[in-house]
Symmetry: C2
Subunit: 130 residues, 2 copies
Amino acid sequence: MGETRVNPSIPDFSHGLLPAIAQDADSGAVLMLAWMNEQAWQETLASGRAVYYSRSRQQLWRKGEQSGHTQRVVDIRVDCDADTILLKVQQTGAACHEGYASCFFRSVDSAGQTHTVEERLRNPDEIYGK
Amino acid sequence: MGETRVNPSIPDFSHGLLPAIAQDADSGAVLMLAWMNEQAWQETLASGRAVYYSRSRQQLWRKGEQSGHTQRVVDIRVDCDADTILLKVQQTGAACHEGYASCFFRSVDSAGQTHTVEERLRNPDEIYGK
């Protein structure tokens, strides 16, 4: 308190990658969670398309560059702590690489058992041309 | 491929804490993102109330234990990679410690400037009795 912070970085990437939630702007469905570094963030702002950072491939991930399932960004939110990003998007095709509209297609019951509760829109082999 | 995995842990806490998104079960609004360890997960399943792990306090965080702003869990989802949790909740009061319904009360424009776009429901000083 009493400390003056000039232009605090929002969002704050000083501790590393930040989680970014993609939400369907029309239905409100939570589609996926991915990660951003500052470059992904800046490219998302500039392009109006969701760009993430792939932790497994350790490189920028322009969502849809392989699958065509791009996300047009309608609104960007940051949370109170400036360490989580929420993108409201218009999703082309299926957000999930498994071919579901949302990555959250499994529900967990109170015994910890999972149940698939969404319909698969696409065969993953079709999406990636395997 | 061809490998048999018996009872893979879902969600998979083997690499540490997992992000957990809380979404309002009625409005679809994304309320907050917090973190879970396996104990928080198990207690959430057993109690039907959202329990997280506070990274700053390094202890279990039974959402609402201080503020009264509890989250009754209506549905639990896990994502395709089993490394992100989505809780659909009935939220009592304000999810955000800043007194907003959602922690994502700030929108970011294409120039990177933030704008508060939600109404504050509660004065934070009231919530925490400061």
